[in-house]
Structure formats: structure tokens, C-alpha cells
């Protein structure tokens, strides 16, 4: 399995990460090694095996549709990097 610096940059962007050219080189090698390890899976016979998402095959439980949480906006926004009038601030999105 070969993963080039361009592939790394593409995946990094999907993951909203920036990697320098130097990092992309090193990460490409690391990830190729990890994918080699992971490729051992291909030898397993999994025909007809149901994929397993939860160890106990538990299904999502639903709660009743009632209000339980209280508004704690001030507490939550107190730890935000930038807020104004109860809103989170980000760089300008719309020109």
C-alpha cells in the first residue's frame, strides 16, 4: 500500500487538519505501515458475518420526548474562545 504526500494532504483536509510537506512525508510512511498491519484483515473469511457495532448488540434506546435539560448557555459560553450576545464568534463566513 502506498500513500503519497498528495493523498495525505487530501485526507488531512477531509479531517480539517493542515500538514506541512515534511509532515506529509513522515505521516505517509507511518500510515502505509499501519495499513499494512490492517491489511491482515483481508485474509479473514467473513462471508455472511454480520458486522458488529456494539459488543452487546444493544439497540439505541429512546427517551420520552420531554424537556429535561435547563438552559445553561452562560455557563457553556463562559469557556468559549469568543462570544458576543450569546452567540459564538467565528471569522466572517458571508462576504
Amino acid at each position: 500500500m502506498s500513500i503519497g504526500p498528495e493523498d495525505i494532504k487530501k485526507i488531512a483536509h477531509l479531517a480539517r487538519l493542515q500538514v506541512s510537506a515534511e509532515e506529509a512525508e513522515k505521516l505517509g510512511g507511518d500510515i502505509a505501515n499501519i495499513l499494512n498491519l490492517v491489511d491482515q484483515l483481508q485474509a479473514a473469511n467473513t462471508e455472511g458475518v454480520e458486522p458488529m457495532a456494539n459488543p452487546l448488540d444493544a439497540v439505541q434506546v429512546l427517551r420520552s420526548d420531554t424537556v429535561t435539560e435547563q438552559n445553561q448557555r452562560e455557563a457553556y459560553q463562559a469557556i468559549a474562545p469568543a462570544t458576543e450576545d450569546g452567540l459564538y464568534l467565528v471569522p466572517k463566513v458571508i462576504e
Partner: protein
């Protein structure tokens, strides 16, 4: 005093041999003196601990105390603590003071236990050596000439207990992060059944594998600690509605009539002769205690690591997408635009190992690769589970090594992440299957402690604790400390 177990501390508080303020202050003084050497704590909670100890002493005086009231202990810095810095070992959360408590944290608070501080860990619990913490590496208190790793990711909790900077601590285990550091630091560590302990407020790494559990000096204490941690939580939809038994009730039960399994696949090239000898000696102890031991087979054991390194990074890449520099945590300086804000905050906030796993996960989930990697890994995960289900039809519990070797030196695994991943070869399958696993001190190799792993059927923690306690009544490995070998 620092040699007292939780049970002995509780006894001392009950019969007024000492107050919670006295033992809490003694631990805080010892942490101040010794933590610079081990770096086991990221945050010491001195003021709040003393205040909590005062309140605990009041409760004890009024006769309004539970067994845990006034007992000092530590939390792994992955559990959210209201008003107390919670970093998860990352620069990303260097300034994160949670506005709420994890359920596990709230449970201990309700009992009146005293949190001494937050222990160091590999960043976002990704690692087996504690070399990946933004807050620096943790030193294994068992180190002699060469400095050794404490294991990971719960290495700070393990080092804190081994150095007697806490009598017990919480840990979390996604692929071995409680059991491997417990083995390296001569402790008792238990990863419960998936869904036994609430994950609410426990910062997520891989949500279908993560499970919190106790790290203690012996099995009796682990039972006492699990009692507080276990139970259904409406705030965690994956926590199971299963009755919580009295985990201390069966500790003294005879092992007569029990059958234990030894997986033949675990005696491979990964396991040195010395490690195998430790296991053989442990088998003899269990036989003397009345248990029968027979061989079992886990034919898909070797596929556990490959399956884990698809599933865990895939879940991590989704979980860690929440760190965006907008709502809390690290934000880059002067972002040019929204994309720059996301990308630079994340690139500057996450360390190398975290980025590697996010990239692997993103790749495995991306269009065209989903079936080949993620779906395939989930299918193999079921094969791994089925192996255990079949084995537990024949035996009551499984004996295994915890690690391939005792604690290693810093940098010993080199530059290739895969070498570090192989460290978890004996622990990872329990997370994939969701079964409980435990590591207990079982001897020394090259003068360093090594662990014995006990694997049990779903929700069979009480049986593991019974086996561990009986082993600890017949052996004294668990009594050794770095100062008293």
C-alpha cells in the same frame, strides 16, 4: 499510612484513628514533594480536596457517612470535573474547565470521596507508554538505572498509585489502557464489561470500546471502587440496565469447581519464555486453590490488532471532530477564515499520534474504502467475540498474560507506531468483544513487575474479583512497592 489500602483507610476513618483532613493533607504533601519526579498528576486539586475533606469529616462526625466518605483518590484527566481543569493530556484542552461532572465523578462526590487531582495520560488516551502527553512523560516508579514507561494510556493513575501519591485512581481502557499500566506498575486494574460504567463526561476516544474502571492496590479495593462506578446512567444510552451486584460479596468464595481456560494462541513468539513461566506459575496457584485449568482456543486472536486499528481510529476521527476551536478548548491566533480557524486550531492543538489516528480513521471511512476497511473490521470484530462466546461455554474465566514484556524504556519502540500498537496484543480483544478483563500482579521478570490477565464473561466482574482476591490471598506479589521490594 501510605501503605494503607482503601479498605484500611475506610476502617481508620470509621474508628477515628485519623481524620480525612489528616490523610488528605498527608497525600497532598507527598504529591508536592514527589510529583515533580514522576509527573503523575497534571493538576493537583489541593484547595478543593481540603475543603472536601472538611465536609467529609463533618459527615463522619454526624454519622452521615458512607464507606467512601473522606477517602482520597485520583481521577484520570479524561473524566470531566466541574470547575477543575480537564485536559485529556492535550494542548487542545489546555484551558478546558468543564461546566459539568462526568457521572463517575459525580458518583464519587456523592459518596464524599476526596479527589486529590487529575492524573496524566497519553493524549486523548491514545498510547501505551504515556510518551504522548502534551504535559510530558510519566516516569514508572519501578524504574531503576534506566527510566521506564509506566504504560498507557492510564500511566499517570498507575504511577500515582505505585509511588503512593494516591491509594487508588480511576482509569479508562479502550485497548488495554487500564490493564497494561496496572501490569507495569504492579497494580490491580479492572476493565469492566462494555456498558457497565457510564461514559457520560468521559472524553470519548472510541465510543464502542471505551470503558472506565478502577486501578487499585488489590482486588478488594477494586471491588469497592467498581461498586461506586458501575450502574445504568440515563445520560449514557450505551450503559446497560443490568443490576449491580455486591462486588465484595463473593471475594472469599472458594474456587473449587471452577474451570479456567488458557488460550493456546497466546503462547506465541510475542511472549518471552520468562513471561510464559510467570503464567505457568499462576496456573499452579489457581490449581492449588481448587480450580481446574484447561486449554481453550481463540482462533481469531491475531486479527484483534488489525481490527482495532480500523475501528478505534474511525470512531476517534468522528469523536474528535468536535474540537473545532469554536465552542471550547484551543483556538489558533488570528484565523484568516473559517476553514483556517478549523484547520489551524486542530493542527496546532493535536499531537502527532492523535493526528495519525484521525487520518487513519478518516481514510478508513472515506468513499471507496468503507467496505474494505470499516465493514470488514466490524465483521472480524464479531469473529473475535464469537471465539470468546464459544470459550465461555467451556470455561468460567480465561487466564492470559497482560503484556508481552515488563515495562520498557522511553523510545524503546522506535519511530514506527506499529511497534507500539503490538504492545496491546493480549488486551485488545477484550475491548473488541466487550468482555471484562483484569490485570493483577503475578511476579517479576528482570526485577520488574508483570501482570496476569483474567478475562471473564459479560457482566462477570464479580467472578474476576473473586479469582483475583483468592490469588492475592495465596500470593504476595501485589504487596510489593518500589520502595519495599
Amino acid at each position: 499510612m501510605f501503605e494503607f489500602t482503601i479498605k484500611e483507610l475506610a476502617q481508620g476513618l470509621a474508628d477515628k484513628s485519623f481524620s480525612s483532613q489528616e490523610i488528605t493533607q498527608a497525600y497532598l504533601d507527598r504529591i508536592e514533594a514527589l510529583n515533580p519526579r514522576y509527573n503523575a498528576y497534571i493538576t493537583v486539586n489541593a484547595e478543593q480536596a481540603i475543603e472536601a475533606a472538611k465536609q467529609a469529616d463533618n459527615r463522619i462526625a454526624k454519622g452521615d457517612a458512607s464507606m467512601w466518605t473522606g477517602i482520597p483518590f485520583a481521577h484520570k484527566d479524561i473524566f470531566c470535573t466541574q470547575g477543575l481543569l480537564t485536559t485529556c493530556g492535550s494542548k487542545m484542552l489546555h484551558n478546558f474547565v468543564p461546566p459539568y461532572d462526568a457521572t463517575v465523578v459525580a458518583n464519587f462526590k456523592r459518596e464524599g470521596a476526596v479527589c486529590l487531582g487529575k492524573t496524566n495520560l497519553d493524549e486523548f488516551a491514545m498510547g501505551s507508554s504515556n510518551e504522548h502527553s502534551f504535559y510530558g512523560r510519566v516516569i514508572n516508579p519501578w524504574s531503576k538505572d534506566e527510566e521506564l514507561v509506566p504504560g498507557g494510556s492510564s500511566g499517570g493513575s498507575a504511577a500515582a498509585i505505585a509511588a503512593r501519591l494516591a491509594p487508588a485512581a480511576t482509569g479508562t481502557d479502550t485497548g488495554g489502557s487500564i490493564r497494561q499500566p496496572a501490569a507495569f506498575c504492579n497494580l490491580t486494574g479492572l476493565k469492566p464489561t462494555y456498558g457497565r460504567v457510564s461514559r457520560y463526561g468521559m472524553i470519548a476516544y472510541a465510543s464502542s470500546l471505551d470503558q472506565g474502571g478502577p486501578m487499585t492496590r488489590n482486588a478488594e479495593d477494586a471491588a469497592l471502587m467498581l461498586q461506586v462506578m458501575a450502574g445504568h446512567d440515563p445520560k449514557d444510552s450505551t450503559s446497560m440496565r443490568q443490576d449491580v451486584p455486591d462486588y465484595s460479596a463473593d471475594l472469599n468464595k472458594s474456587l473449587e469447581g471452577l474451570t479456567l481456560g488458557l488460550p493456546k494462541e497466546y503462547f506465541n513468539d510475542q511472549l518471552s519464555q520468562e513471561m510464559a513461566n510467570t503464567l505457568t506459575a499462576a496456573v499452579k496457584v489457581f490449581e492449588q486453590l481448587g480450580a481446574k485449568v484447561k486449554e481453550v482456543s481463540l482462533p481469531n486472536a491475531d486479527l484483534s490488532i488489525p481490527a482495532y486499528y480500523v475501528i478505534a481510529p474511525a470512531e476517534a476521527s468522528a469523536n474528535l471532530s468536535r474540537f473545532d476551536g469554536v465552542r471550547y478548548g484551543y483556538r489558533c491566533e488570528e484565523p484568516a477564515d473559517l476553514m483556517d480557524l478549523y484547520e489551524r486550531s486542530r493542527s496546532e492543538g493535536f499531537g502527532t499520534e492523535v493526528k495519525r489516528r484521525i487520518l487513519i480513521g478518516t481514510y478508513a471511512l472515506s468513499a471507496g474504502y468503507y467496505d474494505a476497511y470499516y465493514r470488514k473490521a466490524q465483521q472480524v470484530r464479531r469473529l473475535v467475540k464469537n471465539d470468546f462466546v464459544a470459550a465461555f461455554e467451556e470455561v468460567d474465566a480465561i487466564l492470559a498474560p497482560t503484556t508481552p514484556s515488563p515495562a520498557f524504556g522511553f523510545g524503546a519502540k522506535g519511530d514506527d507506531p506499529v511497534q507500539m500498537y503490538l504492545e496491546d496484543i493480549f488486551t485488545i480483544s477484550a475491548n473488541l468483544a466487550g468482555i471484562p478483563g483484569m490485570s493483577i500482579p503475578a511476579g517479576k521478570v528482570n526485577g520488574l513487575p508483570v501482570g496476569l490477565q483474567l478475562l471473564g464473561n459479560y457482566f462477570d466482574e464479580a467472578r474476576l474479583l473473586n479469582l483475583a482476591h483468592q490469588f492475592q490471598t495465596a500470593t504476595d506479589w501485589h504487596l510489593a512497592s518500589p520502595d519495599n521490594q
